[in-house]
C-alpha cells in the first residue's frame, strides 16, 4: 500500500530487466497503460465504424440486400437485407462503442495516462497498480460489451441512452441477456473510470515537478484534470443507474416499472445527470490537446492562458446543471425547462472564449502546418459548427421541431467526430514519436486529413437539413413516411459519402501500423516543443526521469525574445531564472 511512484529508484530508467509480461501486458508503467488503451480504443473505433456503415446502407438503400450481408446470421438479416431489430441494435451499439469504448478511452484512457506524468514531471502515476487495474477492468468491460453482440437475441435494443422502460423490460424490447450484459459492462466501465480518475487527480495535485505551479500546467493537463473530476463524480451516478436497471431485469425490482410506482423519467434524470458531464469528458481533453498543438504550430504563446483555464473550470462546473436540456420534450416541468435553457445558453460562453483564444493564438503567428496542426485547426473549424448548432436546440421552442431528429445527430457528430476525433488524429500523430520512437508519415497524414475533412462534411452537414425537414433519428426505414420521401436522395448521398469516409480512414490505419515498423526515426523533440515530455529520449524510458527536472516557466514560451530559437522548454534555465523553492529536496 505504499506509493512507489515518488520514490522509484531511477536505476530502472537504464536497466529494464522486467519480463515481457510485466513490461507489456501487466505493466504498471503509465506510458504502457496509455498505449494499451490506445490499441483497445482504436479497435472499438473500428467496430463502431463498421456498425455505422451497416446503418448507412439500410438508410441509403432501404430493404435492398447489403453487399456482403449474406454472411450475417438469420437473426440479423434475411438474404442480406437487415432486419429492423438488428438495425436498432446497430444504432444502440454504435453509440455505446463510440462513446464509452472509443472516444472516452482514447481521450482519457490514452492521454490522461500518457501525458499527465510526462507533462507535470513525475516518475509515474500516484498509484501505478490501481492504474493497471483501471485498464484491465476497461478491457473486461469491452469484452463483455462485445460479447453481447453474439448472444442469442443479440445486444440491447434500447439506444445508447437506454431509456427505460424499454430497456428495463425484456418483454417490450425483446432482449434480456444482451441488455443485462450492457448493464454489467457499463458498471465495469464506471469502475475503471473511477480508478483512473482518482489516479489522475491525485497525481496532478501532489506529484508536479518542482516549479510546475498550477498556472504553469499545460492546458492539456488542466483539461485532463477537470475531466478526471467530472469522470470521478459522474460515472458513479451512471453505475448506480446501471445497477438499478440490472436489478429491474434480474431481481425483479421496480425502479423503472411504471406499473408498480416506478418512474420512467428517473432513468433520464440519472442518465443525463451523468450524461452531460460525460459530453464534456468527451470534448475537454480534445480542447486541451488542441491548445497545446495550436500554440506549437503557431510558434506563439497560447492567447489568454488564464481565461482558457477559467473556461475549462467554468465548463466543468456548468456541465452539472444543464442536463435537463436533453429532456425538454420529456414531459418534465416546463418551468424547469426554462431554467435549463438559461444554464445551457450560458455554457456556450466559455466554449466561445476558447474558440476566440485559439484564433488569437494563430493571429500574427508563424504557422507551421504539420499534420497535428492541420488537424487541430480542423478541430477549431468543425467544433465551431457543432457548438453553434447547439444553440438551436438550447432554445426550447426551436428544440421542439429538431429534438430527436437528424439535426441532433449532425450536432453530436460535429462535436464528437469533427471535434474530438480530429483532435485525436492530431494528438495521435503529435505524441506518436514519444510513444513509439518513430514519426507517422507526413504526406499520408495530410492526405488523410483533407479527405477526412471533405467526406466528414459531406456526411454530416446535410443531416442538418434532414433534421430541419423533421427526419426522426433511429428509424429503420424512412420510406415508410411520405414526408420523408423527398429526402431519400439526401439519405443516399450521405450513405455514399459515409462509405467514402470509412474507406479514407484506412489511410490512417495503414499509416499508423506502417509507421510502427517503418516510420522515420524521431528526434527527442521533433516538434520543437516546450513540454517536459520532450526532454526525454524516444520512446520515453520506464520511470521517465532519473531526476525530475525543475520547471522555470509556463509551457507556451514560443518565439521568446531571450531565446536563441523559437521555443524555450520549461526545464531550460535561463541566466535570470530562480531555482524553485520546492526543488530543495531534489538532491536525492
Amino acid at each position: 500500500m505504499t506509493s512507489h511512484a515518488t520514490t522509484a529508484p531511477a536505476g530502472h530508467a537504464h536497466h529494464d530487466d522486467r519480463s515481457f509480461l510485466a513490461k507489456y501486458v501487466f505493466s504498471t508503467d503509465h506510458k504502457i497503460i496509455g498505449i494499451q488503451f490506445l490499441f483497445l480504443s482504436l479497435f472499438f473505433l473500428l467496430v463502431g465504424g463498421v456498425l455505422a456503415m451497416q446503418m448507412r446502407w439500410q438508410l441509403g438503400f432501404p430493404n435492398q440486400p447489403m453487399p456482403g450481408g449474406g454472411i450475417l446470421p438469420e437473426t440479423w438479416a434475411t438474404d442480406g437485407v437487415l432486419l429492423p431489430e438488428y438495425y436498432i441494435q446497430l444504432v444502440t451499439m454504435h453509440g455505446t462503442f463510440m462513446v464509452f469504448f472509443a472516444i472516452m478511452p482514447l481521450l482519457v484512457g490514452v492521454y490522461a495516462n500518457f501525458l499527465i506524468p510526462l507533462k507535470i514531471g513525475t516518475h509515474d502515476m500516484a498509484f501505478p497498480r490501481i492504474n493497471m487495474a483501471s485498464f484491465w477492468v476497461a478491457f473486461l468491460a469491452g469484452a463483455v460489451m462485445l460479447s453481447s453482440m453474439f448472444v442469442p437475441e443479440g445486444p440491447s435494443r434500447a439506444g445508447w441512452t437506454m431509456y427505460a422502460p424499454l430497456s428495463a423490460r425484456a418483454d417490450l424490447s425483446g432482449v434480456l441477456l444482451g441488455q443485462q450484459l450492457w448493464c454489467v459492462a457499463i458498471i465495469l466501465l464506471g469502475l475503471s473510470s473511477i480508478l483512473g480518475s482518482l489516479n489522475y487527480i491525485t497525481t496532478v495535485i501532489n506529484n508536479r515537478a518542482p516549479g510546475m505551479t498550477w498556472f504553469r500546467l499545460p492546458l492539456s493537463v488542466w483539461s485532463l484534470f477537470i475531466t478526471a473530476i467530472l469522470g470521478l463524480l459522474a460515472l458513479p451516478v451512471l453505475s448506480g443507474a446501471g445497477i438499478m436497471l440490472l436489478f429491474d431485469q434480474t431481481l425483479g425490482t421496480h425502479f423503472f416499472d411504471t406499473t408498480a410506482g416506478g418512474q420512467a423519467l428517473l432513468w433520464q434524470h440519472l442518465f443525463w445527470f451523468f450524461g452531460h458531464p460525460e459530453v464534456y469528458i468527451l470534448i475537454l481533453p480534445a480542447m486541451g490537446m488542441v491548445s497545446d498543438i495550436i500554440a506549437n504550430g503557431s510558434r506563439k504563446p497560447i492567447f489568454g492562458y488564464h481565461s482558457m483555464v477559467f473556461a475549462i473550470v467554468g465548463i466543468g462546473f456548468l456541465s452539472w446543471i444543464v442536463w435537463g436540456h436533453h429532456m425538454f420534450m420529456s414531459g418534465m416541468n416546463p418551468t424547469l425547462g426554462s431554467t435549463f435553457m438559461v444554464t445551457t445558453m450560458i455554457i456556450a460562453v466559455p466554449s466561445a472564449i476558447k474558440v476566440f483564444n485559439w484564433l488569437g493564438t494563430m493571429w500574427e503567428g508563424n504557422l507551421h502546418f504539420h499534420v497535428p496542426m492541420l488537424n487541430a485547426v480542423g478541430f477549431v473549424a468543425m467544433f465551431v459548427i457543432g457548438g453553434l448548432s447547439g444553440v438551436f436546440m438550447a432554445a426550447t421552442p426551436v428544440d421542439m421541431p429538431i429534438h430527436d431528429t437528424y439535426f441532433i445527430v449532425a450536432h453530436i457528430h460535429y462535436v464528437l467526430f469533427g471535434g474530438s476525433l480530429f483532435a485525436l488524429f492530431g494528438a495521435i500523430t503529435y505524441w506518436y514519436p514519444k510513444m513509439f520512437g518513430r514519426m507517422m508519415n507526413e504526406r499520408w497524414g495530410k492526405i488523410h486529413f483533407w479527405l477526412t475533412m471533405l467526406f466528414f462534411n459531406l456526411v454530416f452537414f446535410p443531416m442538418h437539413n434532414l433534421g430541419m425537414g423533421g427526419h426522426m433519428r433511429r428509424i429503420y426505414d424512412p420510406t415508410v413516411y411520405n414526408f420523408l420521401d423527398p429526402m431519400q436522395g439526401v439519405n443516399r448521398f450521405i450513405s455514399l459519402s459515409a462509405f467514402a469516409l470509412f474507406v479514407v480512414q484506412g489511410i490512417f490505419a495503414v499509416n499508423f501500423v506502417w509507421s510502427l515498423f517503418r516510420g522515420k526515426k524521431a528526434d527527442a523533440n521533433p516538434w520543437r516543443d516546450n513540454g517536459l515530455e520532450w526532454s526525454l529520449p524516444n520512446p520515453a524510458p520506464h520511470g521517465n526521469w532519473e531526476r525530475v527536472p525543475s520547471v522555470y516557466r509556463g509551457p507556451y514560451e514560443f518565439s521568446h525574445p531571450q531565446a536563441s530559437e523559437d521555443f524555450l522548454p520549461q526545464h531550460v534555465k535561463l541566466p535570470g531564472d530562480q531555482e524553485p523553492a520546492s526543488a530543495k529536496g531534489a538532491a536525492r
Binding site: S3, T7, A209, P210, L251, T253, D257, Q263
Partner: protein, 222 residues
C-alpha cells in the same frame, strides 16, 4: 534512501506543493468523493420514488427497528475503536493498535452478520427485492392492511439496493482490514513514523459509518 528515514506522513518531495496530504490519503479522499456521488444517486432515486407515490409502509411494520438500532450502535462503536487504533499507533503503541484494530474488525464483521441475519429473516417472512412474495406471512399482513400493497414493490427495491450496497461496502472494509491486520498490524509494520494504512482505512470506515447513519434514518425511521 529508505522509507524509514523519511517522514512518510507528509506529501512526497521533491514536488511542487500540492495539498498537505500524502498520496494515499489524498487518493482516499478523492475516492470517497466518488462514493458520495454513488450513494447520492441511490438515495436521490429513493427520495424521488418515495415522494412520487402517495402511500408508503409505516416504519416498523416490515423492518425490525430495535435490532437494527443495536446494529447501528455497533457500527458507531467500531468507528470509535478505529479512532482509538489510530491514536494508539500515533503514539507508537503497537499493543493498543492490535487491540483496537481487532475490535474494529469484529464490530464490522458483527454488523455484516446481523445484516445477513436480517435479510434471511425478511426473505423468510416474504419481503424480497421485488416486493412481497405471494402466499407468505407478509403477504397476508399486507392483505390485512398492515402496509400499502401498491408500493411494497418499490419498498423492497429501494431497501435491498441501498442497504445491500452499504453492506457490500462494509464487507469490503472488513476484508481489507483483515488483510492489513495480518500483513501489517500483527508483524508490527506500522510505526509512529508511518501508519498511513491505518489512517486511510480509517477514513473509509468513518465514511461507511456515516452513510449508514443516513440510511438508517431515512430507510428505517422515517
Amino acid at each position: 534512501m529508505t522509507h524509514a528515514t523519511m517522514d512518510m506522513m507528509h506529501p512526497p518531495v521533491p514536488a511542487e506543493p500540492g495539498v498537505q496530504a500524502y498520496n494515499l490519503k489524498l487518493g482516499m479522499w478523492v475516492f470517497l468523493a466518488s462514493e458520495v456521488m454513488f450513494f447520492t444517486g441511490l438515495i436521490g432515486s429513493y427520495v424521488v420514488l418515495r415522494f412520487g407515490v402517495t402511500e408508503w409502509a409505516r416504519p416498523g411494520v416490515v423492518l425490525n427497528i430495535p435490532i437494527t438500532a443495536l446494529n447501528t450502535f455497533l457500527l458507531i462503536c467500531s468507528s470509535v475503536s478505529m479512532v482509538k487504533a489510530y491514536a494508539a499507533i500515533a503514539d507508537g503503541d503497537q499493543k493498543g493498535l492490535r487491540l483496537w484494530f481487532l475490535l474494529t474488525i469484529l464490530g464490522g464483521a458483527a454488523f455484516v452478520g446481523v445484516q445477513v441475519y436480517e435479510y434471511l429473516h425478511l426473505v423468510h417472512i416474504g419481503f424480497v427485492p421485488s416486493g412481497v412474495r405471494e402466499g407468505s406471512e407478509l403477504a397476508e399482513r399486507v392483505a390485512g392492511g398492515a402496509a400499502p400493497a401498491a408500493t411494497m414493490g418499490l419498498y423492497g427495491s429501494t431497501f435491498y439496493t441501498m442497504t445491500g450496497f452499504h453492506g457490500f461496502h462494509v464487507t469490503c472494509g472488513v476484508v481489507s482490514m483483515i488483510y492489513l491486520y495480518i500483513r501489517k498490524v500483527l508483524p508490527g509494520k506500522y510505526t509512529q513514523q508511518d501508519y498511513r494504512g491505518v489512517e486511510v482505512v480509517g477514513l473509509y470506515w468513518h465514511f461507511v459509518d456515516l452513510v449508514w447513519i443516513i440510511l438508517f434514518t431515512i430507510v428505517y425511521l422515517i
